[in-house]
Symmetry: C2
DNA sequence: GATCAAATTTGACAAATGTCAAATAATTAA
DNA sequence: TTAATTATTTGACATTTGTCAAATTTGATC
């Protein structure tokens, strides 16, 4: 149950088994089905999730019902409606399990406590924030410098598994394009 | 010289004057002119900057010479070519002072040392990372959900001072649109 | 203040992408 | 397996945005 979370920690943190266990025990397990909603717009996101298996999708919906995917979180990664969870304010995004998914979750108060109580965890968390922030900078760059074709091509190179795994519709609104445009890009490929 | 940096620290950190002084003394002062280049593509970014006055611009340039602005950093904020500085790898972006600018700067090694040596600093830095990351998430959202008109309107609401202060060209490539399109949006406004 | 350079605006047109509708294909659930 | 749902593709067209060129305005420098 905690195997992957421990691996995640051990990668960046020199901690003994007791510390790792104490850390992990703050998390609880949840299993969800396909297309299950974990958070709705307007709610304050209470949890941050660690994905053991499956895939979480954080997405927005506009007035016409058009969806846009902010993030996709697969095995071995933390994910949440980050602004809502961090600032404890109402979310503008939904969280959904696209596939049957197994997650570990912890509430905001306990998560903050971990930062105070577990030596080394604040550093590990900070380094992960840096990594996530860098990933978001690269995504911003691709959105302001590349057209749809280039963005799709880049995603194929960096995350081919995602493209195989997820429906077209979700890949499209992750890239910020319509599914029809994506469909045409895929066929027009040389 | 260190007034603003101390204020920045004091906002989130309970530290005595001696600690603040020790912290600040790791930074050196630099004054730049208009449109001066602080970092070029391909270089490993050695410094993170704290802007006392003026404005830094982190931007990219494509093969045709078209520029895109990744970030704008004004008074009282830290800024750098973040992926390059953090990972100490070659930068894909330039750093430029758009206006005559006064910055404090510190190299990567010393900056990392601060995280170990100054109690409370890692927390302050982590909280700022969270804030910057949240800002970048909101920017991604605006890029995948809004058209040019909406993005400009949003920028007018959140940062009217930036629009007044900076040339059209830079606002445009920060929004990911051409300057001609921006010019038309401004006149067509109802 | 005059001159030069840079920034902005405007027009005409081209290219990219979105929208809507329908047809087809694939997947899920009974 | 079949029926029902969901996903994907395709066509026709509308809309948005980009590109290039030129005119105009603004601002910097001597």
């Amino acid at each position: 149950m905690y195997t992957q979370l421990k691996q995640f920690l051990a990668r960046n943190m020199a901690a003994d088994e007791a510390t790792l266990d104490a850390f992990c025990q703050k998390f609880r397990l949840k299993k969800t089905g396909r297309n299950e909603l974990l958070l709705s717009v307007g709610e304050v996101c209470p949890y941050i999730y660690f994905v053991n298996s499956g895939c979480l999708r954080i997405y927005m919906m506009d007035l016409n019902g058009k969806e846009s995917t902010r993030f996709l979180v697969t095995e071995g990664r933390f994910g949440t409606a980050f602004p809502s969870f961090t600032l404890q304010e109402p979310s503008v995004a939904y969280i959904q399990s696209i596939e049957p998914t197994e997650v570990l979750y912890i509430n905001h108060k306990d998560f903050k406590a971990l930062l105070d109580e577990v030596p080394g965890w604040e550093r590990v968390y900070r380094i992960n924030l840096e990594r996530d922030y860098i990933a978001s900078i690269k995504r911003i760059e691709s959105l302001i410098t590349m057209d749809a074709t280039q963005r799709y091509k880049q995603l194929m190179e960096t995350s081919p598994a995602l493209i195989q795994r997820l429906p077209n519709r979700i890949i499209a609104d992750y890239l910020g394009i319509s599914q029809e445009t994506l469909s045409r890009l895929k066929s027009k490929k040389s």
